[in-house]
């Protein structure tokens, strides 16, 4: 009898395996159902940021592309020296070619990857909010279980993030960055002391806004308050992200075939 009971228990367990993802999904109160996602007229839960979001530079009311706001705060001499070394492809110092670290496939890093006109998917669990980025095939985690930042953080590209809801705004607090990435496309630098605050809000079903604040006294003598960035929800067939790893061979080939000829230089 005991053997038979065990068999039934195993069969029941095995039968449940294919349904596991659905079961997990059903147990996540903050996850949108596919039906809700496709129903554009349905009201959105303001505490539900899940879905695939993309930054489009030309939607109405959009903040400036590629940088937190039009002008950076005054720089310290340390930051000014780094800024002067940067040769970006965008912004007031834009030029062809250049020494943008992402051309060598360095990770784009936070917050710069948030300005890319390529989508990221937000996935919420009770303890963490995940962001999966098309760019770099990168991801980050934002702890929402009430923990604090660990002490003696090892600096990283994405930093250490903790988040909490302030009314209908999801506030992300991140420290622990390395200083290898550019803060934006313009070549503005940041240091390991950067403290980043991101405020996400679901404005309506298809729109999420972001305001970010950069505090980095080693680089800037004042707080950098970004303008409001707007992200659109991708639905149906548009809810697609490709596998976009940065491949050095592809970057080099593209540089030789397009970037250098475009500026009148011979391939290397």
């Amino acid at each position: 009898m005991q053997t038979r009971m065990m068999t039934i228990a195993w069969m029941t367990a095995l039968a449940a395996v294919p349904a596991l993802p659905a079961l997990i999904h059903a147990q996540m109160p903050s996850q949108q159902s596919p039906a809700a996602k496709s129903n554009v007229s349905a009201p959105a839960d303001p505490h539900d940021l899940s879905g695939m979001w993309e930054f489009f530079p030309n939607v109405p009311g959009q903040g400036i592309y590629a940088t937190p706001s039009k002008d950076h705060p005054p720089m310290t001499p340390w930051a000014k020296a780094k800024y002067d070394e940067a040769k970006p492809g965008y912004g007031p110092k834009a030029q062809g070619g250049g020494n943008d670290p992402i051309l060598k496939c360095n990770p784009t890093g936070i917050p710069r990857i948030l300005f890319f006109p390529q989508p990221f998917e937000i996935f919420q669990t009770p303890e963490r909010v995940f962001m999966f980025f098309e760019r770099d095939h990168a991801w980050r985690q934002i702890w929402t279980d009430g923990r604090s930042h660990p002490k003696d953080l090892e600096p990283t590209w994405m930093g250490d993030s903790i988040g909490k809801w302030d009314g209908d705004t999801f506030v992300v607090d991140t420290i622990g960055f390395n200083e290898k990435s550019w803060l934006d496309f313009y070549g503005d630098p940041h240091s390991e002391d950067m403290h980043l605050i991101e405020r996400y809000k679901r404005v309506d079903r298809n729109t999420m806004s972001l305001q970010l604040v950069v505090e980095d006294p080693k680089a800037y003598t004042a707080t950098w308050v970004g303008d409001t960035k707007s992200y659109k929800l991708l639905t149906g067939k548009k809810a697609y992200m490709e596998e976009l790893f940065c491949i050095p061979e592809e970057e080099d080939a593209f540089t030789n075939r397009i970037r250098l000829p475009a500026v009148g230089q011979n391939p290397k």
């Binding site: 590629a66 548009k238 500026v263 009148g264």
Partner: protein, 129 residues
């Protein structure tokens, strides 16, 4: 290099209709946002790869000489969301491409719109308005 420009049909009317062009924000300093142009030629290669998809085509200039153009556009993922596939363009296709040309005068450009031999148009618009 300037002679290549002579072969270009300036698409001023198209620019006026578009308002703020998509590429004005995404394109980089190498390209002349203010002077979009349209070229027509035969595709020699369609490189569906990152960081940006590339189309190479042979275009006859007004003296009958063939000029090889190199045209880039968005990443494959963005193009899929705009309705393209990896098979949208084939070698040998006679296509018309509206682009912003390189400031250097080299036959290089950033694609805004492509018209296939059957008249189908492929653009960069990911969002439905």
């Amino acid at each position: 290099m300037k002679k290549y420009r002579l072969n270009i049909l300036i698409a001023a009317a198209a620019l006026l209709q578009l308002g703020v062009p998509l590429w004005a924000h995404h394109g980089n300093a190498s390209y002349d946002n203010e002077n979009p142009a349209t070229i027509k030629g035969t595709v020699t290669e369609f490189a569906w790869s990152n960081p940006h998809v590339q189309i190479y085509l042979d275009v006859k200039d007004n003296k009958g000489s063939v000029v090889r153009w190199s045209v880039e556009t968005f990443s494959p993922g963005k193009l899929v969301r705009a309705g393209w596939t990896k098979d949208s363009v084939k070698v040998g296709d006679l296509v018309s491409i509206t682009l912003i040309p390189a400031k250097s005068g080299a036959p290089v450009g950033f694609l805004h719109k492509l018209v296939l031999p059957n008249g189908e148009e492929l653009g960069l618009q990911e969002l439905e308005n």
